[in-house]
């Protein structure tokens, strides 16, 4: 029998499909044909597999080799099929017992000397494999850290094909690398107690963390906008296991796990440069559709510094993910949906020279320039931002009293408590965060106190706020109420929410 088979996974976005790798070795002229819509990197697998096998002391069959990756209609890409092809080939030539190879999933790129190299997307592949009933997987050693997150499966890390074959033939493993499953603690170097003054902005950050409200910080350079944004992940509640898996899977596909520990439970913090393109922001690519910054910031913070400097349409491309919590990217190779539920933090200078604050005495911009600068943040986008805070330059007194400020750990405790209150309140509802309460529920079940409503309605009558703005303020008021342990938003909570949204005339 000169047929061999092994299993692998092809990823389309975050979704994995089980691929059966079949190898047939037939009499005929020596040759190799690879079927099943491979891309260029996969086409080249032949030479990698051949060299890797020969250099590991195996014999390459001098016959007609046909490799088929099925289902055949699906486009397959990348180098991760090297290992399953090699295993199926050895099974076909009878070099390894079929029983062991057939029900195990293999992922990995082969180096010419037989080492197994790490690949992208190992975690989402394992999740898909588990869903499809595969229980054993062999992955590159380099990806073992993220692979062990999938604790429901037996995951075996291998760093070269010789030791893998030894294991397949005898059941013995030459070395076993055990990874401690530790939850990395949040980065201590970024603590909120470093932020001097800026009580309003710090309060806004706390409210933002409680209810998932997007935040705009406006202020001159050097006042702490970036400092505050960088410290936001540290006060967000730690990710649950499912959330952490999801985030790690996304980063695994993007190949950016080096920047983030795969076992981390800290919310991700992504800050694309303001020259980023739309594709960099939302994701894309011609062969393989990769997640963009907004998906990498899923369950975390997307911070865009110098937001008005962003290219035309880049910020507005975030409108759809802001609304739906996911982004669908359509290209000729297919369409892919990536999750993108992030907390958007925008930072902006008040004007091109950055000095227009307070009385704006040092500002050198014309009044028209000042007006035009912030109007680059489009109306529809600004409408989705619940909190707009001005960050004022610091005075001498505020710099002195810095050590009185709360640490990130304290704020996080408050945030977690407030979120618990919200979760209990929404236990029967499909949403979880205050920023997600639908407007209908705000008008009925989740209305603030009567006095607060009177205040809001009078603002509405004076056309100071729109109907949508009214609902946004009510949502923010709920977060403030949760922080203050009020059962329902009071007049004071609502007024603070009003100031947080309408305080800046942007």
């Amino acid at each position: 029998m000169s047929l061999g088979q092994s299993l692998s996974i092809a990823l389309v976005g975050l979704t994995g499909h089980v691929i059966s790798v079949e190898v047939d070795i037939a009499d005929g002229l020596p040759g190799y044909s690879l079927l099943g819509l491979p891309d260029a990197a996969l086409m080249e697998s032949r030479d990698r597999v051949r060299s890797a096998l020969v250099n590991s002391g195996e014999v390459w069959p001098n016959k007609k080799v046909t490799v088929s990756l099925s289902p055949a209609w699906m486009h397959k890409s990348g180098s991760g099929f090297d290992l399953p092809i090699a295993i199926a080939l050895l099974a076909a030539s009878g070099k390894i017992p079929e029983s062991r190879s057939a029900h195990t999933m293999y992922l990995g790129e082969l180096a010419l000397d037989g080492r197994i190299r790490g690949i992208r997307g190992v975690l989402p592949s394992l999740i898909a494999a588990h869903k499809n009933g595969i229980r054993i997987a062999v992955v590159p050693d380099a990806n073992l850290a993220e692979a062990t997150l999938m604790s429901e499966m037996t995951v075996i890390g291998m760093d070269n094909i010789a030791s893998l074959l030894h294991w397949l033939r005898t059941g013995e493993r030459s070395h076993v690398q055990e990874l401690p499953l530790e939850d990395s603690s949040p980065d201590d170097s970024l603590d909120f107690c470093d932020v001097a003054g800026q009580d309003a902005a710090r309060f806004a950050a706390e409210v933002s963390a409680v209810g998932g409200h997007h935040l705009l910080l406006i202020g001159p350079p050097g006042t702490g906008k970036t400092m505050i944004a960088q410290r936001l992940p540290g006060i967000l509640p730690p990710l649950t296991r499912e959330e952490s898996l999801e985030v790690t899977a996304l980063h695994s596909i993007a190949g950016s796990l080096s920047s983030r520990s795969p076992l981390s439970t800290t919310a991700p913090f992504i800050s694309p440069h303001h020259t980023a393109t739309r594709v960099a922001m939302v994701g894309g690519g011609s062969h393989q559709i990769r997640p963009g910054a907004c998906s990498l910031a899923h369950r975390g913070v997307l911070f865009i510094d110098e937001a008005p400097e962003c290219g035309v349409g880049v910020l507005d491309s975030l409108r759809q993910p802001l609304e739906s919590g996911s982004i669908t990217i359509a290209r000729s190779v297919g369409s892919v949906a990536y999750p993108a539920q992030f907390l958007l933090i925008l930072a902006a200078n008040p004007c091109p020279c950055g000095m227009f604050s307070g009385r704006g005495r040092n500002c050198t911009c014309s009044s028209q320039q000042v007006r035009r600068y912030l109007s680059k943040l489009s109306g529809p986008l600004m409408d989705r931002i619940d909190l707009r805070v001005e960050v004022e330059p610091l005075g001498r007194v505020q710099l002195m009293e810095s050590e009185l400020n709360n640490s990130s750990a304290d704020i996080r405790k408050r945030v977690v408590r407030a979120r618990d209150i919200a979760r209990q309140r929404f236990s029967l509802d499909p949403w979880k965060l205050n920023s997600q309460i639908p407007s209908r529920a705000l008008r009925t079940q989740y209305q603030p106190e009567r006095k607060a409503m009177t205040f809001l309605h009078s603002e509405l009558d004076q056309e100071n706020i729109s109907a949508r703005g009214l609902h946004k303020i009510m949502r923010t008021a709920w977060s403030i109420a949760d922080l203050a342990s009020h059962e329902r938003p009071t007049l004071e909570d609502t007024e603070r929410a009003f100031t947080l949204r309408e305080g800046v005339g942007a």
């Binding site: 009499d27 005929g28 002229l29 020596p30 040759g31 001098n62």
Partner: protein
């Protein structure tokens, strides 16, 4: 006439030896040899043979004295195999008769240092 390669005598002798061994190998198995080194402008057929069951076989022989440049059979590329097929059509055209089925066989002969040799016979490769 720069594109005509003139093989040195060593290679010619090696190739000739390999083909002789294959002819012997076939005759031992009752295969009739119809023609050897049939050459036209497009190229050459090493051996034309007739199997006992009436199948016509066009045989390409590749002989090598070491594995330094790969297996002998690897040297028969798909393009060469396709040319062999064209040549077989030409041969049948020149020998008008009702032939039965036909096939292309490729043979690798690997010379060992001690003078022995290994014949790898692949029948009907196309």
């Amino acid at each position: 006439m720069a594109d005509i390669k003139i093989p040195d005598s060593k290679k010619l002798i090696l190739g000739q030896f390999g083909e002789d061994m294959v002819v012997k190998f076939l005759e031992l198995r009752g295969v009739r040899i119809l023609e050897r080194n049939w050459r036209i402008k497009e190229g050459e057929i090493d051996i034309v043979a007739l199997y006992p069951n009436g199948t016509l076989a066009f045989v390409e022989v590749k002989t090598r004295s070491s594995l330094a440049f790969g297996e002998p059979l690897e040297a028969i590329t798909p393009a060469k195999a396709a040319r062999l097929q064209r040549l077989s059509l030409a041969w049948r055209a020149c020998h008008a008769r009702r032939w039965g089925s036909f096939q292309i066989d490729c043979v690798g002969v690997l010379m060992q240092h001690d003078g022995s040799y290994i014949i790898e016979y692949r029948a009907n490769v196309l």
